[in-house]
């Protein structure tokens, strides 16, 4: 079915298409598989298409022949038969047999997709409105953790700047994994249901808040594989991509070393006293990475779902209230608990930034990491 239709749609639409879109590649099949399972699923789909094509030709061959030959306008007189037990039994039994034959590959492929046993590395992916958090929890790289945010600038989304090559499918941190190793991904969520989806690796697993589900893949080639959240999760559902980078074993080991060093460096002394200017500068970056999507760069928010910070009572109020809302989130709204996502220094920095940004002139205009720790307990 698909093949004939492809040919048809090609022929019919090429003219209309190429006028508008000369450059971009056309995609109408599965993305090039990056795992054996993805290849097998693609083959299973092809087999199905072949079976469907045969049924299509048979069923609609009969229909169009009838439309051609049994027309009143060519003088065809209607027969009056209205049952035939043999035929009716046949067209019940034959489809049943076809289905039984199809059930075999369908079952074996499903077993392969669901096999998450004996992983080399286990990574936890946490869906958070609207980004993914990752923790390497077992195997080489254990202890590494980071949050992956969309890096596509707002200007590209709103058409004020030309779109980049990986528009909407690029993040600041990639999930780096070694080629040929079995990676088990534990998927969960912090707020609502998300889904961790990378087409070329044939993985899609819903992330259920409060529960842990798993999926697994073994990449058979190096490269960067891009996917996105696949379960509607609110406003920025379309803006939380998944980027998996498959590298050689040596590169992976090097990456792990690098990450470990970074983690050690990032483990800042929470008792350090910071200067106002330092914190504001750092806070502006934290704000741009974590807050702008809802509260906007101008601090005006988007009414009524995302309140303004500019001139807000809380932002200009006592320090403890500001910290509490950022650390613990606000139940029943999209305001999440950042206490575990950001370091105490980052939280202190962003609170300091918000307290002094735009028209805000809070009396309590600076927070130190120690203040954050006091609230986070």
């Amino acid at each position: 079915m698909k093949r004939t239709s492809r040919a048809l749609s090609c022929a019919g639409l090429i003219g209309a298409l190429y006028a508008g879109a000369a450059a971009a590649e056309f995609r109408w099949n599965f993305q090039t598989p990056g795992t054996k399972v993805a290849q097998d699923v693609s083959d299973l789909h092809l087999l199905m298409m072949a079976i469907i094509l045969v049924i299509f030709v048979a069923v609609f061959g009969v229909m169009f022949y009838s439309i051609y030959a049994h027309r009143k306008s060519v003088g065809h007189k209607a027969a009056q038969f209205h049952e035939n037990t043999t035929v009716e039994v046949l067209w019940t039994v034959i489809p049943t047999l076809i289905l039984i034959v199809m059930a075999w590959p369908a079952t074996t492929h499903l077993l392969a997709v669901r096999d998450t046993s004996q992983p080399d590395i286990t990574i936890k992916a946490t869906g958070i409105q609207w980004k993914w958090g990752y923790d390497y929890i077992k195997g080489e790289g254990e202890g590494i953790n980071f949050v992956a945010n969309l890096t596509t600038p707002q200007d590209q989304i709103y058409g004020k700047a030309p779109r980049g090559e990986h528009y909407l499918l690029e993040t600041d941190n990639h999930v780096v994994v070694p080629v040929g190793k079995k990676i088990r991904v534990l998927v969960t969520a912090a707020d609502v249901i998300h889904a961790w989806y990378v087409p070329a690796l044939a993985v899609k697993q819903d992330a259920i808040p409060g529960f842990i589900r798993d999926t697994a893949f073994r990449a058979n080639k190096e490269g960067i594989f891009r996917g996105q959240c696949a379960e509607l999760c609110g406003k920025d559902h379309g803006f939380m991509p998944v980027v998996v980078e498959v590298v050689s074993q040596e590169k992976y080991t090097a990456w792990v070393g690098e990450q470990k060093k970074k983690l050690a460096a990032a483990a800042e002394d929470p008792n350090k006293k910071w200067e106002l200017a330092e914190l504001r500068a750092r806070g502006e970056k934290v704000y741009a990475a974590n807050c702008v999507a809802c509260h906007q760069a101008n601090g005006k928010g988007v009414q009524p779902a995302f309140p303004a910070l500019d001139g807000s009572k809380i932002a200009n109020g006592p320090l403890a209230d500001k910290l509490a809302i950022i650390v613990n989130g606000k139940a029943g709204t999209a305001m999440q608990a950042f206490g575990k996502q950001l370091s105490p220094t980052d939280i202190a920095a962003v609170v300091t930034y918000i307290s002094n940004a735009w028209s805000n002139k809070a009396t309590a205009n600076i927070a130190q990491p120690a203040d954050v720790l006091a609230v986070r307990k």
Binding site: R71, K72, T92, L169, I193, F211, A230, A305
Partner: protein, 528 residues
Amino acid sequence: MSAVADTHAHHDDHGHHPTGIMRWITTTNHKDIGTMYLWFSFSMFMVGGVMALVIRTELFQPGLQIVNPDFFNQMTTLHGLIMVFGAIMPAFVGFANWQIPMMIGAPDMAFPRLNNWSFWLLPPAASLLVISLFVPGGAAGAGWTLYAPLTVQMGPGMDLTIFAVHILGMSSILGSINIITTLLNMRAPGMTMMKMPMFCWTWLITAYLLVAVMPVFAGAVTMTLTDRHFGTTFFNAAGGGDPVLYQHIFWFFGHPEVYIIAIPAFGVVSQVIPAFSRKPLFGYASMVYATASIAILSFIVWAHHMYTVGMPLVAQLYFMYATMLIAVPTGVKVFNWLATMWKGSLTFETPMLFAIGFLFLFTMGGFSGLVLALTAVDVQMHDTYYVVAHFHYVMVAGALFSAFAGVYFWLPKWTGRMYDEKLGKLHFWLSMIFFNVTFFVQHFLGIAGMPRRIPDYSPVFTEFNMISSIGAFGFGLSQLLLLYNVIKTIRSGEKAPARPWEGADTLEWTHLPSPPPYHSFETPPTVR
């Protein structure tokens, strides 16, 4: 005997019903109520259609141009809810109201006042859905499936939606009870169950489905409501609940709902195809059994909508096998329709064109359904545009085309006037072409990995989205032809004979003039 005749004459000459707007508000006449259902459905079809065009305009190219992501989500949600509950379901209830009493030789529905009530529940429910757009925070933006816990984050628009769902459910249940009672008790003497027209059988089965599952949906949204406002934690793991529980309950309603929409569509097509083939429906008895099997199977396959939530492997295997099994009775129906056409004497007036369009495209939807049934493949396709394409093939090209076939088929009977055949055929061909332009390409988008319900996308998906958006506008505008044609028919169509279709042989064609009198079959006909 003469006394009976006297009362009869007396009754007729009164024609005692109020006129003007009060006629429609107080009417208990199945024909008036059927008309109101159909007009209501058409207006909701327009509202939902405009929302679809907002979606397609935003998706014409990558980037955010006309709406923000929040509003986009509200559009997809309302488009789904309005089309399913406001447009398609009421359309078929409209057919049921007009046709069932005339087809079984009954004077009216069994509970005429209940009938009035089940219609008049709809406009308030639809208004709630539309009004929800204007409350703070806007309408619910959680998708028509209203998955928890996203629904818990929504503003007051969500509460209006929940209330609307409750009212819509009540309307459906009351309507169904009426249809079941009418079909079981009010058939003309001699019309046994197995002599009922196929359309009546499909509605009997559908009505049972509705009574069984609408309360389940009401339960699911009520649990959402108490989670939102009264501190329960049905769908919140922190309080011992489970977000996936919502999906199980929803789809236990949702899958039969698919057949609630499809089965009456099968019924209309089963009347139209024999009429224009001039040949009786092939395998009437096996059609009845196949329809009943589909209805029963529809209760035990719900979790195939949830292959990616992380069910146990055995559960996935079971739901996969059960889902594949549905292809058998569905196949039987398609083969029966083909065998009805086979060696008939076919003509291709508009109703027949739409019925053949239904047959062709519904089968295509069946094929993509078969692909989606295979769990391993579905894990790739789930929540992508492939699924969007699949269900629009069965909902639009399936149910909606069948409703169009029904409208053109029965319009001469209802109005006593013929519609414009040329315009009808134009409506068919434009709908057929633009439907495929809109939705066929969405299969490719889904296979290549474009998720559904996103307002912006990677530029590799641009071309097919552009084609799809162009098709959507073509399809939407073509529907104005139907409106024009219907109004033209009512105002100035040529007079239609009692039986304008040579092959139509049910009671409304053989025993009643066109249009039928306001009260028909006050004395039941005798069916051989």
